[in-house]
Symmetry: D2
Subunit: 135 residues, 4 copies
Amino acid sequence: MKGFVWPVRVYYEDTDSGGVVYHANYLRYMERARTEWLRSLGFEQDALQRAGVVFAVRSVMLDYLRPGHFNQLLAVSVSVARRGRASLTFAQEVYLHESEELLCTAHVKIACLETTTFRPRRIPDEILAEFARDR
Amino acid sequence: MKGFVWPVRVYYEDTDSGGVVYHANYLRYMERARTEWLRSLGFEQDALQRAGVVFAVRSVMLDYLRPGHFNQLLAVSVSVARRGRASLTFAQEVYLHESEELLCTAHVKIACLETTTFRPRRIPDEILAEFARDR
Amino acid sequence: MKGFVWPVRVYYEDTDSGGVVYHANYLRYMERARTEWLRSLGFEQDALQRAGVVFAVRSVMLDYLRPGHFNQLLAVSVSVARRGRASLTFAQEVYLHESEELLCTAHVKIACLETTTFRPRRIPDEILAEFARDR
Amino acid sequence: MKGFVWPVRVYYEDTDSGGVVYHANYLRYMERARTEWLRSLGFEQDALQRAGVVFAVRSVMLDYLRPGHFNQLLAVSVSVARRGRASLTFAQEVYLHESEELLCTAHVKIACLETTTFRPRRIPDEILAEFARDR
């Protein structure tokens, strides 16, 4: 249902003095999940970089529904909402691992770039092929 | 033109191994600017908290146009795009201080909450009055 | 040999434009490992806080031996080097998970405080008893 | 007395749910101050990098005396405690800007490295000359 899911624990470093997870940190959680999703498909980003492929965030839409708290175990989902030739848009959710209560939802658009020039480039076919299989 | 503007220097802590400012950090920059804008209007957030008023980010729309780099001096603008009774939407931009080249634009919706219950509450009148003056 | 060990993956958020793990982040890794070590002994820090017990870092000695890099899997060890009535000193290491190459070593002194007053207090007996068993 | 001093404001991003500045963030504050101190001497680190010179933290000794809190204005001092051919040791303090109450003291040893090989190298003479003048 939720596609790929990655667990994330909330440590002190993630919270702020409001007693909740600092809002920018959900973007970090979501990138961890995307990295692990890529890894689960067989793609290591350091190897991709050496092969000339790097991914960069182009836009983000985030809705914060409920605050996360210190020591909670969260789950971060990853699913591909739209697949272009040089970009991917992910739908991602962050929720409480146990109750599945939703904390944050997002759409994150990622562009595929050349490592050195930072110019847009086609997503390599072997990656697209894996994405197609990932449903 | 740009309303309130706050300078931000890019340190090592802000960058990633892609050689650019890590994407989540623009949200931190934008919050610094909103905090300083509130201060410039005479409102200290720790005093507001003690008075029962806390602000929380409800949603974010971010577009990344160009990467920021180590040691650059950035500028972060703050202007109120929409003013509700219990929420504010800010239009914010991050650009290079010198060339004014735009790096990132955002809309950030902030809700006004009661400090203890985290329930939505009206923005205090004295703050709304200041916002009205801030054009 | 190494006592408790916790795996940590290096994500983009952890690196800087020097291409390596940002030096302050090793402190975050070490706290994650101490938190998980406490959990492995049956102590959840949010429950401890509600029971009036909070831990705070008092001093740190850190040696950086080799840089960590993006996408590496690290391991962080935790062992109690010295046990006082109101403080604990941990010896911690961060090394590459696979090769066991050492990146960083540290001594971290933690004080036990009362949650509300932030005054030093004795470490609760049930925790000390568990520590004694943890060799 | 305190040598170079750099002001740092505590934002939400810097605090944790214990209500205080997260301990690892003092290392970020100290690096900001060292960067600004270098800049005040006429050295921009991005230019130094292009000239083959990069600085890396080798060791840290930190004592945490009192917690910092949200919205406080801090001051971070920088003074050179020991000057070697390929390394510098800084004595740094973080204190409340207004009351000068001390929060954190540290010794930070920095090595001078070649940008590409990451091998230790002599600190360039023009930098050493400036350091000598900085008393």
